[in-house]
C-alpha cells in the first residue's frame, strides 16, 4: 500500500498536466459569413461577419487551414491579420455568385454579389498556430 504523501504528489502532477494542457489548447466554434459587391468592375463593398457560436455546431471538420499565431486569441483577430489566406480558404469551400447586367441603349452597367452563406468553423488554438476547420 502506498503512503498518503505519494498519492498526493501523483494527483498534483496529473492536475498540473491537465491545467497546462487546458491552458495551451483551446477550441472554439464560430459562425462566419462573407460578402462582397462589385459594381461596374470596381469593388464596392467587402465584409466578413464573424460571431462566436452560441450553441454547438453539427457536422464534421472538412477542410482545414493552419495559421501561425501572433498573439491572437479569437477568430476575428486571426482573420484581420491573415485576411488574404482566409479568403483563399473560403474560396475553396465555395462561393455563390449572383450577377446582373443591364444594357440600355448600348450603355452597360453590371453588379456582381459574391457571398458565402453563414457557415460554422471550428478553431483550435495551439501553442504557436491555430487550425481553422470548416464544419459540414
Amino acid at each position: 500500500m502506498r503512503s498518503r504523501d505519494g498519492n498526493k504528489a501523483s494527483l498534483l502532477a496529473v492536475c498540473s498536466i491537465i491545467f497546462f494542457l487546458s491552458s495551451a489548447l483551446q477550441a472554439a466554434e464560430y459562425l462566419v459569413s462573407y460578402r462582397y459587391v462589385i459594381k461596374d468592375m470596381i469593388l464596392y463593398n467587402d465584409s466578413f461577419l464573424i460571431s462566436p457560436a452560441m450553441k454547438k455546431c453539427n457536422g464534421t471538420p472538412q477542410r482545414s487551414l493552419d495559421l501561425i499565431l501572433q498573439g491572437e486569441d479569437n477568430l476575428m483577430q486571426l482573420v484581420s491579420n491573415n485576411n488574404e489566406a482566409f479568403r483563399k480558404f473560403i474560396e475553396k469551400i465555395g462561393l455563390e455568385i449572383d450577377h446582373k447586367e443591364k444594357t440600355t441603349n448600348f450603355q452597360n452597367s453590371s453588379s456582381t454579389i459574391i457571398t458565402m452563406k453563414t457557415s460554422c468553423f471550428k478553431v483550435d488554438f495551439n501553442d504557436n498556430f491555430a487550425r481553422i476547420s470548416h464544419l459540414k
Binding site: 462589385i38 468592375m41 470596381i42 469593388l43 449572383d98 447586367e101
Partner: protein, 153 residues
Amino acid sequence: MKYSMLLVALLSSSTLFAQNEHKEAYSIENTNVAQVTPQMNHAEEKVLEVNHSMLISVIGQGVAPMNTASPAQAYALAKRAATADAYRLIAEKVKGVRVDGQDVIKNMMVKRSTVRTSVNAMIRNANVVETTFKEGLCEVEMEIKLAYSQFAQ
C-alpha cells in the same frame, strides 16, 4: 362464282398495293433519319463523359477605383474585382446565362433598347493560375476542373 373470283382478285391486288405503299413510307422515313443524323453530329459540343474531366479556363478583368490610398491598395481592390469577374465567367460557361430583352418602338423608331442578363451559381474549387496588373487593369486567369462524378446523381 365468277363474281366471287373477281372479288378475291381485287382484294388481293389492293392488299399488295397497300403493302407496297407501306414499304415506301418506311423507306422515306429511313432516308429522312439518315439525312438528319449527320446534321446532328455536325454541331460538335463538348460533353462531359464518364471517367473524363474537363478544364475550363477564363480571364476575369477588374479595375482599381480612382480614390485609393496607395498603389498596393489599388492592386488589391482591382484583383478582387477581377477574381469576381472570373467567377462570373466560369458560372456563365458552366451554368449558362439568363437573357431578357426589351425594345420600345414608337412611330417606327427604337426609343429604348434594354438587355438584361443574369447569372446565379455556386463555384467551388476554382484555382487562380495567373494575375497581371497593367495600367490600372487587373487580369486574373482562373481555371476549374469539372469531373463527371460531380454531376452524377
